[in-house]
Symmetry: D2
Subunit: 267 residues, 4 copies
């Protein structure tokens, strides 16, 4: 038994030399526990610590973590990132609540720690990020663009944040290309069937039992339509984005906002 | 040549004995001209007259029409139908503008002409009629129902008449079965992304260049979704409904409102 | 404690007078355990026994079950049903493997127990049953019909049983109406892109990670398309059909094959 | 009147100084006549000649054309391009039949005429080009990819050329990224429901009356799906691509194969 344990330890040590050492903050939350599991399964990643709100951040240092994944709460996430950066640990952050001031403070901090990378991503679903990107790229080539988002009926806000963000990107791309708003001859719409206007783009919110999170960008010109649809059936779908973030953050020093830049979609 | 023409005439006469003799009113309009062409192509139908607004209705009698198709204008359609019924000619009517009073007057007229049938249909697309019917039939089995209609951007009203009618049928079916409104936890919707509420059913109107007329009924329950979608790419799609109407009206005396009753969908 | 238990028993007894007493066979299996949970949640149903393969069927009698739900295995399901019917207990059966002979034997058995109802349903998803029904009803009105089914990539057979059944119903409806096969000018298809031909209906099977069980019936005529799509995201979707079956079986004596007859879709 | 005509002529002359002078070859064909009409409607383009097969190419020179659009036939298109290039006229070519040898000869010719641009595009639908591009870009991020193409039932080959090209691009992108084939546990598929395998990508061909040309790329991973769909309802949809090609070819000397490079999608 002793010998066998020793062998195992040696193997683990040998492996850890080439594997990335990853810790998870907020490891008992829904997203954090999924992230820990995803790290365990991913080739080349080693889960070295799982912390929750009562644990000291010093554990990250003791565990010699190279990357920390933060799925905590808005009130502590910036503090966590500061601690990690000051200890040379890269960060992949899925916690919401980062405003412009917090992002600027983190940029300033990273300027003093030039080798460290921080990824702050509002959406870790690679599919959702691609859908937004493609919608923005295609927007200027079509006369009309509208967005339909569909979610479970327990959602309290409409439209969804992703739909609003997509509309903003589409609107920006069209203005940059000198394309005007989508044509619309509507004169009578007493009950508001035409939905919301967000950055000059119509957005429609459907709420349906059985659904999770779905979105369609509809683009139309004379004689043709292009539809880009993303379906999230389960939050496990975010995990391939988290793992991709962990692998890439170590070679992307400074602050990266949004997963897009890691997808390397350029030509 | 003379002999050959004579032969042809004989053949035509022989054929007409078993074929249904059909006239079109409004034959130079968009729908009327399509209807005339559809009659020409249909097996068992013979086009015997094409009238437009300057022609006398007496032509119908002279041509010995058995069925008249009316695609005229609201101001004359009831007059046309009265003339036809009084002359024993069945009617298939696609002209809009028939209110309750006009329908009641026509019912009273038909009571005095018991062998004559009149079909007044707001929509001759068999696909659209089936989509409405199926939506209403399925409505009580699902927790949530919403409707998305999509049209070309030159349409002046929202929602479409078909969508409003579908919502009414769905709402009625749910109330009859004691099913409450679809669940909706929305608290914040500053720009009206949730669309119109028609008979307790959410209706969303998309306007997109390249489209013609399209509609989806989305029905959802825990773990599942049923979608019924109809696409009209061209008004030629109405013509199979018109031809079906012509064939059936001769065996359906009295007033029929809507194509549904001719589709014989019962079990 | 004693007093409290007594009170509870009294309440349960009072309730059971108006509630339907339901037992589940195969209660530790995936479907059986979902069914037990669905019965617990449903208004008007009381779960009185949960049996698995080591339990004696006499428990059903001791528990005074009125309806038994069978989600067991093909080798024992007929035996279970016979026991239940002979003891005057109605049956709702989701177990597969019922061939014509087994169905005939059960019909004969029920003839000797005229008050008892048995529902044997290959598919308890109300949405899937409606999608099949609507596909069959619409089939004769369109020139073309094809079916696309989409499932997770661990499925070993193609096409799915539901798709094959839908194709059979569609093909039957078209032949009954004298409608020929869908037009198809394909001359070159070296790799079999046109899919399978099942009862004269083309069926296409897509396998995609992330999906569960989905099916589209596509119907097309000149200028229009009708699409009937059903998505199963989770097997919980079968449970509303199971509960509906339990509620209806007590008033449907004899053998019913398929959930359709309980949906009361007639006009 | 005379004065007014003179003024108009002056205006026209003034305008033509800043407008691009465009000629159409094959101007009486379906695509050529649409192209001529599109040029007439487009801002900044002036239609200076419409030629068909009996016309001499010298007309291009006489009309002082700057760009020629070729929608002719495979047997003459290379000859037309050579004439144009040798006379310093840019070319936008939609005629099929360009093999590697013809493309190489044209490259060599253009090397001797360095200021002239030639665009040869198998597909002028911007939507179709974007759908192919996005499919290829997304392909390496998903575990599964399949393609469904849907066309009118008079099409003689399956799968469509666009679907085969999309599959090739998707397959290439996945191999380049080291992503293996999509998972597929199918063991029983007696009738070929799983469709064609093109470059390791499953392709399904649907034929349905009422449709024109449609394609979906379905991409799936654990818990999510991305769908990229393009619908061509009418060949008028090709014309925005033709106009874009005309505008861009003058600043893209040399041979460009495919519209992609003009779309400037890089980040």
């Amino acid at each position: 038994m002793t010998e066998r344990t020793a062998t195992e330890t040696t193997t683990a040590a040998a492996t850890s030399a080439s594997e990335l050492r990853v810790a998870v903050l907020g490891a008992r939350g829904r997203m954090g526990s999924e992230a820990a599991q995803a790290v365990r399964r991913a080739d080349g990643l080693q889960l070295v610590a799982e912390l929750d709100h009562e644990d000291s951040l010093e554990v990250l240092v003791a565990a010699d973590a190279q990357v920390v994944i933060d799925f905590t709460v808005p009130s502590v996430t910036e503090h966590n990132v500061r601690f990690a950066v000051e200890h040379g640990i890269h960060c992949v952050v899925g916690t919401t609540g980062w405003d412009h001031e917090a992002l600027d403070r983190t940029r300033a901090l990273l300027a003093r720690h030039p080798g460290v990378g921080v990824l702050i991503a509002p959406n870790f679903s690679i599919g959702a990020v691609l859908a937004m990107r493609f919608s923005a790229q295609a927007a200027r080539f079509f006369e009309s663009v509208e967005i339909v988002e569909l979610h479970h009926p327990d959602k309290v806000d409409a439209p969804s944040g992703t739909a609003a963000r997509t509309a903003a990107l589409v609107g920006e791309a069209r203005r940059a290309a000198g394309v005007g708003p989508s044509p619309d001859a509507t004169e009578q719409d007493p009950d508001g069937a035409r939905g919301a206007l967000v950055d000059d783009v119509r957005v429609h919110s459907v709420r349906l039992r059985g659904l999770v999170a779905h979105q369609e960008t509809l683009l139309g010109s004379l004689g043709e339509q292009l539809t880009i649809r993303h379906d999230s059936f389960d939050r496990v779908s975010f995990m391939s984005g988290v793992v991709l973030g962990v692998r890439q953050v170590v070679s992307h020093p400074g602050l990266t906002h949004g997963l897009d830049d890691y997808l390397d979609l350029g030509l």
